[in-house]
Symmetry: C2
């Protein structure tokens, strides 16, 4: 039963399991204590820090272990912003960061590190900060110089992921770090998706990562703060982990973190090449075997194990279920999942199709046979979902061309229905004619222009529509 | 090799180990995902929450898992204070809370939930809150009615531990919770030391605990927020754990938490009675076999497995080392440890001797033989440390009584030297005469009055002394 969602969480590496077990027996005591059990725990913690720091590319005293990657990001950003309040309150992030970074940015923007006031009657603590979201290209990558251009005299911190979690695109982190250094602004790198594949290059100031993403245990994040970087931990004081990560140290998991990072790094070059070839195969085959599909993300500058594609006229959640029934565990950044009704901010920032989105991220050890099995199963899974939704086959329209503008009322219908209804009428529209799609689904704002791009048709623009929705106008050009 | 520091961290319970191992294989995936591995993880998480909530005495949807007890306390206090900002900024805590609570109180007092400005140039975010520290009696217990008396119209939150971590004294939590409820103020109970022994009684509003304290795994804390309690999570948003505990769920450890809590609860009545008898034995024997010792903490209303005593004329750190060499791992709240130069705030609030402090906390399964071995080893260990420090034997002074006031200059000398020097001269002082001890060690402020109490002599008071220290005056009354 192939599991293809390593980017969410990788199965525990055998070395991690082994190290965790050993450290459960040796590392359960308080490392601050003077007796033998405490000293033993301290030795394990120190050794794990040495190993991990070397693999991160920092000094042991620059690295602390947090309870998760999310906490590393939250606490790293809060600590860096707090330490540089005198420099200013401006924060720069890319528009395709992980939600951990974006939620930190929202909190900073709303109330200076405090979440916005809610219906509970809480009020903001002080004036909000200012956030700049750096755009990306259609491949999901920030442009060279984009960070330099975004920095201001009052910029306290910039954040950039090493590689995107939804589409696998690698960011120009080393270049951005140089740009930030030149401006005297610290750069925090969210390396959650890439650290198992290698260290992050460039003069970054802070780095966050998460062990379970590379096959380490849950419950451990990394936060590196390079010497010379101002840092003032937010929240109540705590003496552990250099005052930067409150709470009793989870030493068994930390030991497993170090051991597993060393193990995956030892395998990274060979396994990366092997998985890259499998992903290349997916990138090539999916558009050949599935109609109306868009493979997204930078085709070259990308993580070796991850590929994302979107399927027109497909409900992403239904497709995930179909693939699950076929035995394949994959994920989605699509708008069409139960957990959220808004489209993926990553796909939105890239301006690509979000509907029917599938992310395949191969864990180490994935076999070619498993990938071939997926490629065999996918076309039927997509076709099944499309059939259920009544998606159009191309050229199926038989009615006479309508005169004037064709209006498609998709109000109250969820993604991907608005695009399906658009496609259904489009063949009846004369070249030069327009279609106005009325929709109140947020995904339509992304997916109708993306459909035009894929079909080579003109997206004219949007206008408010009667009934509370938005009208999206498309002109047939061919 | 007996380990007697369960109150710091208990060795992993065999059931916890077993559950952790099983859940490593089944619970590593993201429980928010729709595929089978995610559904399996979700089932494990839900089941663990059900089990744990029942043992805590709350509903499953009132309980979230945090990365540690410290984080449960920090985030619980911050969230409760934030939600009740309109009610006011006043916080009530007992003076013997764990540092996790006190550091939260300090952060609130300094800067409204933000740590005080440091040398890094950071500035406070907004006006500080107001904190009331409720005193305790000589047994370490808050008085009935003390919380009711401390509450004000602008009190946002009150916090009280279920039992003290240093001396084992149980607090009147149910009574305090009633007092708070009557005033419409939520009470947060830090149940870290007691939850393995039983649920916390009374109408508390929030409860925090830590799994590794009862033999569960490291990396898991509990935060319960009862329905009807206002709560506004501080910090960046995160959708997991009801928005109250950011970060990827550590499901294997959470499963082990539930299983181990159930296991220790099943053994709690019998094991508690057995350990209580062993602690009674220590409480009785130590004063018989070790001269100049004070057993501290409430003798009856206490945790079953924990006893603390302080030894006059003893350097606590040296005593811990001596006991470690003799094969016994015990802890200390003493001022005389390497990690801090200030006396234990708990012993200070109780007004008892802090020097030569030893905390014995027996893990489940401790045998009577191990305790007898400790009782045999202790007198020599204490005598050895005293001999090295040149502590006085009673009645050893041979010189003639000095006329007028005797001045002991202990400036620059660390605890327990000032008390040793006092004792050395005291037998030469005539009844009615006084000794002025000059000291710049903070512990002297606690230990000289405590010495007077133990010796039945009069502590007159303190005054500033030349040379930057303080003069502590003692009158010989017998």
């Amino acid at each position: 039963m192939p599991y293809f969602d390593a980017a969410s969480s990788a199965p525990l590496h055998p070395i991690a399991r082994q190290a965790l077990l050993a450290a459960l027996d040796e590392g359960w005591a308080d490392p601050a204590r003077l007796y033998r059990e405490g000293r033993r725990a301290r030795l394990l913690l120190d050794a794990a820090r040495e190993t991990t720091a070397e693999l991160v590319g920092c000094r042991p005293d620059e690295l602390v272990f947090t309870p998760s990657g999310t906490r590393a990001v939250h606490d790293g950003i809060a600590g860096a912003l707090k330490a540089r309040r005198r420099a200013g309150r401006h924060l720069v992030v890319s528009s395709v960061e992980h939600s951990a970074v974006l939620h930190s940015a929202e909190a900073h923007g709303a109330a200076g590190g405090d979440r916005a006031a809610g219906s509970d009657g809480a009020v903001a603590g002080d004036a909000g900060g200012d956030v700049t979201y750096v755009p990306v290209d259609r491949g999901g990558r920030v442009a060279p110089g984009a960070y330099a251009a975004a920095l201001r005299a009052d910029t306290a911190l910039a954040c950039l992921q090493s590689a995107n979690h939804e589409v696998g695109t690698e960011q120009p982190v080393a270049e951005a770090a140089e740009e930030c250094r030149a401006a005297g602004v610290p750069l925090l790198v969210d390396a959650a998706q890439s650290l198992g594949w290698g260290p992050v290059a460039g003069p970054w100031s802070l780095l966050a990562a998460s062990a379970h993403k590379w096959g380490g245990p849950p419950g451990v994040g990394l936060l590196a703060v390079r010497k010379g970087t101002r840092f003032a931990p937010a929240g109540p004081a705590d003496e552990r982990e250099a005052g930067r990560a409150p709470g009793f140290e989870n030493i068994p998991a930390i030991v497993a973190t170090a051991a597993s990072l060393r193990a995956v790094r030892a395998e990274a070059a060979a396994e990366g090449a092997r998985l890259r070839a499998l992903v290349d195969r997916i990138r090539a085959r999916v558009p050949e075997t599935v109609p109306d599909v868009e493979v997204v993300g930078d085709p070259e500058r990308r993580l070796p194990h991850l590929v994302t594609f979107s399927c027109l006229y497909v409900d992403g959640e239904a497709l995930l279920h179909a693939l699950d029934r076929a035995g394949f565990s994959v994920s989605s950044g699509s708008s069409c999942t139960s957990s959220t009704l808004t489209p993926s901010h990553v796909l939105g920032a890239m301006g690509v199709l979000s509907e029917g989105n599938v992310r395949v991220s191969l864990p180490p050890g994935t076999s070619a046979d498993e990938v071939e099995g997926f490629l065999r199963a996918l076309p039927d899974a997509v076709a099944g979902v499309r059939a259920e939704l009544g998606a159009p086959a191309r050229g199926a329209a038989e009615e006479a061309p309508a005169a004037g503008e064709t209006v498609v009322d998709a109000l109250g219908r969820r993604c991907p229905v608005p695009v399906i209804e658009l496609a259904k009428v489009f063949d009846r529209v004369p070249v030069g004619g327009t279609v106005l799609v009325l929709s109140d689904d947020e995904a339509a704002r992304l997916d109708i222009p993306a459909w035009c791009e894929m079909r080579g048709q003109e997206y004219v623009g949007e206008e408010p529509a009667a009934g509370g929705g938005t009208g999206y106008r498309v002109r047939r050009t061919s």
